[in-house]
Every structure is written in C-alpha cells, then in structure tokens.
C-alpha cells in the first residue's frame, strides 16, 4: 500500500476501511483470475494463491513505509499486491512476459520489486530478512522489516538460527507466521510439535497470536507490533491463525469440500469486512477492481514474451 501511505494521517476511518476492502478484493480477484485462466495454458509453472488469507497481508502491510522492507515466500501474490505491487506486472511475470516483475525470470514465487523480495525455498529467506533488518538498523534508519512465513516452514531449522540471531542482535523485524493449518497437504498437527508462540518465546521474541480473518483486528495488532519494532529496534512476532480457501497450488486440495465450504462461510475476510461498507461503496469498489484486474490481465496477455536477447 505504498502510494497511499503518506495520506494516512488525513484519512477517515471510513476511507481506510474502504481502502482495506479494495486491497483485499484486489488480491481475491487477482488470484481467482489466475486459477480460472490456468487451464488455458497462459501461465508457466505453477502458482500458490492467497485466497482466504487476504486480511493478513493487507492488515500488516498497510503500515509499511516507503523505506521499509518485506520478505515473502512462495505464496507471495497477496503480499506483493498488498505491498503496492502492480497486478499487470504480476500477471505478466506468471505469463513469462518481458513486462513481468522480474522480466519473466522468476515466475510466481521469485519476485523482487523495490524493497520486496520473495524466493521459493521454504525458510531460507528468513535469516536474509534478519540481515536486511540489521542493515537498515546500521544505516540508522528506523525502518522495520517484515518476514512472512507459513506454519509448515516452521519445520526448517534455519528459521530458528534466524530467530536466535534476531533476538541476540536485536534486529528490527516483525515475523508474521501465517498458520493456515496446512502445508501443501500436511495438517499442522502432523508437522508441528509444541506451540508456535512458544517457539518465539524460546528465543525471547515477544509474540502476539490472533485467530481471526478480520482485517480490522489484524490492522491494529500489526500496527502496534511494528511500532515496537521501530521504536525499540527489536524483533516481534505476529502469529495469524488463518485458512487457505484454495488448493495448495492447483487442483491439489485433499481436504473435504465441506470443510472448505464451512471455512468460506465463517472465515472469509472479504465477507467479514464487507459488512462495514455500504452496499453502494462495496459495489463501486468491486466494479473498479474488477475492471483494473481484467485490464491488467488483458494487457499482460498482450505483452510480448521475455526475449532471449535479454538473457
């Protein structure tokens, strides 16, 4: 949400709520468009959509300043769009087009734009995020770094090396764990012994847990933690219990359809938040976003493929 950031102080709550809805709806429609069009063969490789988790990225990244840094993972579209990334460039990246975020080199999981970085190896980017946070600290910047990671990624040892170093050297970083209760097809219970917040406590990193899909709960919690990160120049963790509505990548959901249906009913961040908007406002936003996403898709589609001349 970089562009709007400076206006924050001047905004009414209503405006903010509308913006949050717009941001979440943008992700939702982007991801749905990806899944809908995948069978047509327009995209290369595979994808991991953010459906159901939109409130996390939007609630956290709404607070980011221009000079602040975000590290993301394989499920990065939502993070990227919430950071302010361009939908056309992201579509184009997935399509292997020259106009893509990384000119088609990275594809869905490997993005870099401004201070946003993602990679496709679970956990490996976490110590890198800590290093980035320390670099900003050394420059004397009061910039926070955010690192997103999933519940499954808590299986990787390097994450704990990173937590230890972050705590020892007081890196100004917010770890955001998105516990969507599943890793690919593995339920969190089969992969994770003990508790998530206990893992941060073990390294002396204060953690806050939220079990919600309501962006208006995530927003202030994230804001408060980020302020602590900035002012105390120290690590914090935010553990968001959340749900994945779609498949892990494409067509690989082994959960019962009823489970998903129930989740979509009770834990849809868009439905929850839409209730705060007037129907007219909601419709207007949705129409604008729909238009934006469709245009972005069409433009990306029309863009030329990456050229071997650029290699």
């Amino acid at each position: 949400m970089l562009p709007q950031k400076n206006l924050w102080a001047m905004k009414t709550m209503q405006q903010i709520e509308a913006e949050l809805y717009r941001a979440m709806f943008r992700i939702r429609r982007f991801e749905e468009t990806v899944l809908d069009n995948f069978p047509k063969g327009v995209f290369f490789g595979t994808t991991h959509t953010y459906l159901g988790q939109e409130a996390n990225a939007v609630g956290v990244l709404h607070h980011m300043n221009q000079d602040e840094v975000v590290f993301s993972n394989h499920r990065c579209h939502g993070h990227f769009l919430a950071y302010g990334g361009d939908a056309r460039a992201l579509f184009a990246e997935l399509m292997g087009k020259a106009s893509g975020v990384c000119g088609g080199r990275g594809g869905s999981q490997h993005l870099h734009w401004r201070n946003f970085y993602s990679n496709g190896v679970q956990g490996g980017i976490v110590p890198i995020a800590v290093g980035a946070a320390l670099a900003e600290k050394r420059k004397g910047a009061r910039a926070a770094t955010v690192a997103f990671l999933g519940d499954g990624t808590l299986g990787e040892g390097v994450v704990y090396e990173a937590l230890n170093l972050a705590a020892l050297w007081q890196a100004p970083i917010l770890f955001v764990v998105e516990n969507n209760h599943i890793a690919q097809t593995t339920p969190v219970e089969l992969a994770l012994a003990g508790g998530i917040s206990a893992r941060f406590a073990a390294f002396d990193i204060p953690a806050r847990e939220l079990d919600t899909s309501d962006v208006m709960e995530i927003l202030p919690a994230a804001g408060a933690l980020l302020e602590q990160v900035r002012t105390q120049s120290a690590p914090r963790a935010l553990i968001l219990h959340t749900w994945r509505f779609g498949p892990h990548s494409k067509g690989d959901d082994t959960r019962p359809a009823e489970t998903i249906a129930r989740l979509r009913q009770s834990r849809d961040p868009l439905t929850l938040h839409a209730a705060r908007l007037s129907p007219a406002e909601k419709e207007a936003i949705e129409a604008q976003v729909e238009d934006e996403i469709q245009r972005a898709y069409q433009q990306a589609f029309a863009d030329p493929y990456s050229s071997i001349a650029d290699l």
């Binding site: 995209f43 290369f44 490789g45 595979t46 990246e93 292997g96 087009k97 893509g100 000119g103 088609g104 080199r105 990275g106 594809g107 869905s108 999981q109 490997h110 990679n119 496709g120 190896v121 679970q122 956990g123 499954g152 990624t153 808590l154 299986g155 990787e156 040892g157 890793a183 690919q184 097809t185 593995t186 089969l190 992969a191 994770l192 690989d252 082994t254 493929y305 990456s306 050229s307 071997i308 290699l311």
Partner: protein, 349 residues
Amino acid sequence: MPTVLDSLNTALRQALTQDERVLILGEDLLDPYGGAFKVTRGLSDAFPGRVLTTPISEAGFTGLAIGMALRGLRPVVEIMFGDFLTLAADQIINHAAKFRWMYNGNKPETERVSLPLVIRTPMGGRRGYGPTHSQTLEKHFLGTPGLVVLAPCALGDPGQLLLDAILFTNDPLLFVENKLLYLAQVQDITQSDDFEFRIHNDRTDAEPGFAAPTYLCRVRGAPPPTLTLTAYGYMAELAQQAQRRLAYEHEVFVELVVPTGLSPCKMHPLLASLERTGRLLAVEEGTRNLGWGAEILARSAEALGARLKRARRLAAHDLPIPASGPLEAHVLPSVENIIQCCLEMTQSD
C-alpha cells in the same frame, strides 16, 4: 510398457513388500495425495506406518534416515524437489557418506557399520517452475567419496534399478529422477524396431546383487558410428531423438551411451565406443562448469590422449533457470542443439 513413474512406484511397492526393514520418509507422502510427483502414490494406504510424511525439514529427516540406516533399517528418503538437496548437503556429505569408511577402520566384519540409505529426488526443468524448482543439481554431489549416485533412464528397467538400490546397497545412494522422465514410456530394449541396444551390466563390485547398467544404442542397420554421444536421464531421451534424426535427416551416425551410474562412473563402455569414433559429445541438463560431462571428458582425455580427436559438452547455459517458457527452453539443451553440435563435430575435422 509402463511409464517410468509406474515402474518406480512398483519398485517402491516391491521393496516395501520384500523387506520389512524398508521405510519411506518425505514431505506430503500420504495418500490420497501420495507425494508431489506421485511416485509414492498408494503406498501409505498399502503399508500403514511405513510411509512417513515429514515436516519441511530436509536435513532433519535425512538425518533421521541416516540414524535408521545405521541401526539396521533400509530407509528411502524422498526430497520433494532436487533443488532442496542443498539443505541436506551436510547430512549427506559430512555424515552419511563418511560414516561407513571412517568408522570401519580395522574392525572385524561383525562390528562394522553399514549405511543402506536411498535418497530419491526429482530433478530438472522444462516445466516453468523457475529458478528454485527446476535445477539439475546432482553435479554438486557427484564425486563425494562414499556416496553412490544413480540416474534411471527410460531404457531397460528403471524400477529394477531402484529396487536393487533399496534392497542391496550398503552405502548411501542418491537416486536422481528427471521430472520429464516420469511420464515417458519405458522402452523395451529387446523389442525395438528402430534401435539396436547393448547392455553393459556393470555390477558395482562392493554391492552384490546391485547393478547399474550402461546402455549402448545405435540406429538399427546404420553404418559404423563416427561420434559417441553420451547422456543420462531425460537427456538420454532427447539424445536418442537427435540420434534418430541425425541418421535419417543427415546421414550422420552416432553411438549413444547411456549410463545409469553417475558416481562412481564406469567408463569402459564409453571408452570402447570412443576407440571406435574418436569423437565425444557429452550432453547434460545441468550447467556446464564442473558438471557430469566434465568428468566424462576428463576421463576420456586421460584414457585416449591424442586419440580423442574432438570432445565437447552440451549443457545448460551458465545461469539460473528462468520461469518464462521461451527463456527456459533457450537455456536448457534441446534436440536441435544436440543435432547442431553433432553436425559441427562430424563435418569439420
């Protein structure tokens, strides 16, 4: 004929049936999903408690399997993408590969350790998965003392190779499966109309019952070859396509040598062919520098000296693998590239 995937899946099933010390560990292995590439599909249902789905801890569960192997089991590890072998590099290079030799100095037979561990992993690109899910990284593990590296191909019986490895190895063994090979049909080399095959059934000395064959392939009825082409895994498929087209479209006749043992590498079938042709092209999907082909060329140069008239490697460009289809296709070696190379090498001399 079955696909390579079926053949490997059957082999795992047989291994679990034939030896109850066999276990499988890896990420997302449980049915109905049955693993990211489905090589283990159906196994967790059929063998409850013996197919263990793990957390995302490549070093950790590889380590577990090493401990199990040290203590008498015969574990099989799946690393979901070969790209993530880097995470288990220390377990493989500084633990598994060393223990057998390092611990066994001067010990009576009964007190020796063995480490029967098979690590299977899919490698390779051409699916648009991008820089961290498309690599051919086995080159970083070749030449590790104490580690055997095998790569099945669509020739012969890839499942048998895996089954032998699981049942008979006493050393840690890396089994490299190219992703595009999975859906290839196994070629019955005894029944080919187009090709003539010979098998060198290299039994590695240390492992009774355990063989890593090398296949020699010529276009049926072709005149003597003027170049030796060597490739493994899925590149052997592409090399065979190139071989056929070279014969039919260009009247250039090459002999194709396809090893399934990458490390240690047994050279005599290849060297015998080179004595006939004097020209060598090694093709691989990994990047060129310090790749498998480097060892092949080095050994050929050592063995043949000036009799090696021309030698080249064809490999991926020296870059990460891009996600965009056209870029990826350009970076990885193609049938066209192989044909082009063979033509250059046989025309001018």
